[in-house]
């Protein structure tokens, strides 16, 4: 792609949108071809960085940040475009749509893409600063960044994919990046956690492949748009079979009960930026896929009752696990599982209000969960531990950290007027509007879960930050060594200033959802309407006039 032209287009993105719809047919760049950027650019950057290796650190960080910055800008442009013009489609390799693979940017995918790009950008800032801080290691730059970028490309590809097989490839892309990130440094605990994670992911991928084989055997296509039409003609049993297999594959990725046990087992050991992105994005990719699956391919199926039960169990088991934990990262992992239940509930309602709630919740949860994990990373950096039985007095030692943890924690548990409250409110209203005893029960369970989340995070905050300092830890600043896992005492007391700033930016992003609640909820509702209508998506992909 022509860089200067691309940049110029990005700068004049707003003007471009105002311009008449007709785009030069063989011009260098059309709005549609921008869809490839969030996928291709990080991959390209990862390749370049692998070629550079451990040298030229400044250039490397610049490449990572610029790449993710451009992705973010492109995503914003795409979101505005998809909202004003309807779904944008680009056919890869010039093959026409049902045969070739296409990338589709509709309201849902661009919205989550924007949020994920913003989050990955902040996390990249964090990891760049963090790598600079540890001058002695080359590995963070040489391995961490390419793996991270490959994962980001995979996430973007999964969001934009208009083809089931491409979705599989996207999953594999993001998973292979995440395998590297999770086992980073190859310490014993990470290898152990990596084994669990890799095998669960593999099992899920195999299930996905089986579902693909069945789907292709039954319909002769894997294009989502075409599948949406062809599934309607299939016998009910085949539909259920395909739906359940796909659902199982996605549910493992999204950590939905009873396939959620691997998550609190494997996430906490990874390096902080990796855990943060995993927690924020990877499970949401699973949720996104479930939303697509349920809304586009199998609207109004009998599976929604099952989904409601599963959502109920996910919420309760997750939050009860969170209450029992004494380690901050594990506690957060359990709340992560628990809150996936809210999104599944929204999807299971399969009404516009329910889906809009789920979409809003996805947006909120990506940001909040990532910032919580990043703050925990800062806490670990500062004190050398994340176990609340050993922490204490952090409020005195570092009031900034205390605030940075407190705000997203309250946001997560749904204190008004933060976005967590708004998301839960949307889901509660949707559940009550839907009626029936099961949705109403779920609403009640959701409220209980929210209370228990508040209990879990408040307990953690109180113990780690609020209570008096533990005498044995006072005045010691310890950093954990990425390579050996040993704790090394460090003499500096202050964190590099950009670390808290990157986290603060994420926290502020989470808070901004309250300020932007009007447009955001509107967008979520339009996205949900578009999803349930199905027609805009299908027509756009198959090239029909709506």
């Amino acid at each position: 792609m022509n860089g200067p032209v691309l940049l110029e287009r990005l700068v004049t993105g707003a003007v471009l949108l105002e311009a008449p719809v007709e785009v030069p047919a063989d011009g260098p760049i059309t709005l549609e071809s921008l869809i490839c950027v969030p996928v291709l650019l990080p991959l390209l950057a990862a390749g370049v960085k692998l070629a550079i290796g451990g040298r030229l650190r400044r250039l490397q960080s610049l490449i990572s940040l610029v790449t993710l910055g451009i992705s973010l800008a492109v995503s914003v442009v795409l979101m505005v475009a998809a909202d004003t013009r309807g779904p944008l489609v680009t056919e890869l390799g010039g093959w026409p749509s049902p045969i070739g693979i296409c990338l589709v940017a509709d309201r849902l995918s661009t919205l989550v893409l924007v949020v994920s790009s913003a989050v990955t950008f902040c996390v990249m800032v964090y990891s760049v600063v963090s790598a600079y801080d540890e001058q002695e290691h080359d590995a963070p730059m040489a391995v961490f960044h390419p793996a991270f970028l490959v994962m980001v490309a995979g996430v973007a590809d999964a969001f934009l994919s208009g083809d089931l097989f491409n979705l599989f490839v996207a999953f594999e892309l993001l998973l292979s990046g995440s395998y590297v990130l999770l086992t980073f440094g190859g310490t014993e605990s990470r290898i152990r956690a990596g084994a669990t994670y890799t095998l669960m992911a593999l099992a899920s991928s195999m299930l996905f492949l089986i579902a693909l084989a069945i789907t292709y055997g039954a319909t002769g296509t894997l294009s989502l748009a075409q599948l949406a039409e062809r599934f309607a003609t299939l016998p009910e049993q085949v539909k259920i079979l395909v739906e359940l297999t796909l659902l199982l594959a996605f549910a493992i990725k999204a950590a939905i009960f009873p396939m959620s046990a691997w998550l609190p087992d494997s996430y906490p050991t990874a390096p902080a930026p990796a855990t943060a992105v995993f927690a924020g994005l990877l499970t949401k990719v699973g949720v996104y896929s479930i939303i697509r699956l349920e809304a586009l391919l199998f609207p109004g199926g009998p599976v929604s009752t099952l989904l409601m039960w599963v959502a109920l169990a996910t919420m309760l088991t997750g939050v009860l696990g969170a209450v029992a934990q004494t380690d901050m990262k594990r506690m957060l992992s359990f709340t992560l599982v628990s809150h996936i239940g809210y999104m599944v509930f929204g999807v299971a309602l399969s009404t516009v209000a329910g889906l809009a709630g789920a979409i809003f919740y996805v947006v909120h949860h990506i940001t909040v969960q990532t910032s919580l994990f990043l703050v925990t990373g800062l806490v670990e950096r500062r004190t050398g531990t994340t176990s609340v039985t050993r922490l204490g007095g952090l409020m005195e030692a570092s009031p900034l950290l205390a605030v940075l943890f407190f705000v997203p924690a309250m946001n997560l548990s749904g204190i008004p007027p933060m976005s967590g409250f708004l998301g839960k409110l949307m889901l509660v209203q949707a559940g009550l509007a839907h009626g029936g005893w099961l949705p109403v029960t779920l609403v009640a369970v959701g409220l209980v879960t929210s209370l228990l989340t508040l209990y879990a995070v408040a307990k953690t905050w109180g113990k780690a930050f609020w209570r008096g300092p533990r005498p044995d830890r006072l005045g010691r600043v310890v950093e954990s060594d990425e390579h050996t896992g040993d704790d090394a005492t460090v003499t500096t007391t202050a964190l590099p200033v950009m670390l808290p700033v990157s986290v603060a930016a994420l926290v502020a992003l989470g808070l901004s959802f309250t300020v932007l609640a009007g447009p955001l909820v509107g967008l979520a509702q339009r996205a949900a309407t578009e999803l349930l209508a199905r027609e805009p998506y299908v027509s756009a992909v198959l090239g029909r006039q709506p």
Binding site: T183, T196, A213, Y216, T389
Partner: protein, 271 residues
């Protein structure tokens, strides 16, 4: 939309079954083999979904072989290859670090299991303490009952004694009144009394002796009872000490067992 050939489909089923079985093993090498076998099974399934083998592609009519699944299978094979390579590296690293290729238990899981064991243990200790306390209470109640019975018996015996003494006094008074009535002087009466004492009046003497005897008997009974009680108390104390020692030994054993189970990795306290 082709009917599926039976043989390849059966092969898929066998491969997938074997793969899943191996995947459930704990040894990472077996798991790796499982991944490969499972991957092959699934890939074969995809090829099978493209139609019968040997058919020409892109020809109208029935019995054509769809080339698209083969393109997909190529992608899937490459991905499986990459993941297999990664898994191999991980198995090697795991072997380097721990000397075995078994997946280790999660330390946090172990800690939670330990905590639940500790909970069970403290429950058991509490139950035993409870039983012991109940035993002590029962024995005390038994003792108290014994004491009460004894006191009641003593009270009855004392009353009996009082009654008898009173009767003897009455008899003596009557006898003296009779003698006085017969016009005997006080001096004579005193003399007669002395005489009766010297004469060793069997009735009067026996009464006095009986009183003494009864008193002695009563004293002896009391001493015996006190001895018995002391004995009983001693026995009870011994039993209590025994029980306490046993309890302490059990707790110490369990602590040692836990200390053995404790891993150096399992740091942090569960307060």
């Amino acid at each position: 939309m082709n009917s599926v050939a039976l043989m390849p489909f059966a092969a898929c089923c066998v491969l997938i079954t074997c793969g899943v079985t191996l995947l459930l093993e704990r040894s990472l090498v077996r798991v790796l083999a499982g991944v490969i076998v499972l991957g092959n099974g699934v890939n074969l399934l995809i090829v099978t979904s493209g139609g019968d083998a040997g058919g020409p592609p892109f020809v109208d009519g029935t019995g054509i072989a769809d080339p698209l699944p083969q393109a997909m299978v190529l992608t899937a094979i490459v991905i499986t290859l990459g993941v297999t390579a990664f898994l191999l590296a991980m198995v090697h690293r795991s072997w380097q670090l721990t000397g075995s290729d078994e997946v280790q238990d999660d330390t946090e899981d172990r800690r939670i299991r330990l905590r639940s064991r500790r909970g069970e243990l403290s429950d058991a200790v509490r139950a035993r303490q409870h039983a012991y306390r109940r035993l002590v209470i029962e024995q005390r109640a038994e003792l108290a009952k014994l004491e009460a019975e004894q006191a009641e018996r003593e009270r009855l015996e004392e009353a009996d004694l009082e009654r008898r003494i009173a009767r003897v006094h009455d008899e003596l008074g009557q006898w003296m009144r009779e003698l006085r009535y017969e016009g005997m002087t006080e001096d004579e009466l005193q003399q007669r009394l002395e005489e009766a004492g010297l004469r060793d009046d069997p009735g009067a003497m026996s009464n006095l002796e009986r009183i003494e005897q009864l008193r002695e008997e009563h004293e002896r009974g009391r001493a015996e009872q006190a001895g018995r009680e002391r004995e009983l108390r001693k026995k009870l104390k011994a039993r209590q000490r025994d029980a306490r020692r046993q309890l302490r030994a059990a707790i110490r054993d369990e602590r040692e067992r836990q200390a053995l189970a404790q891993d150096p990795e399992l740091e942090g306290d569960d307060s």
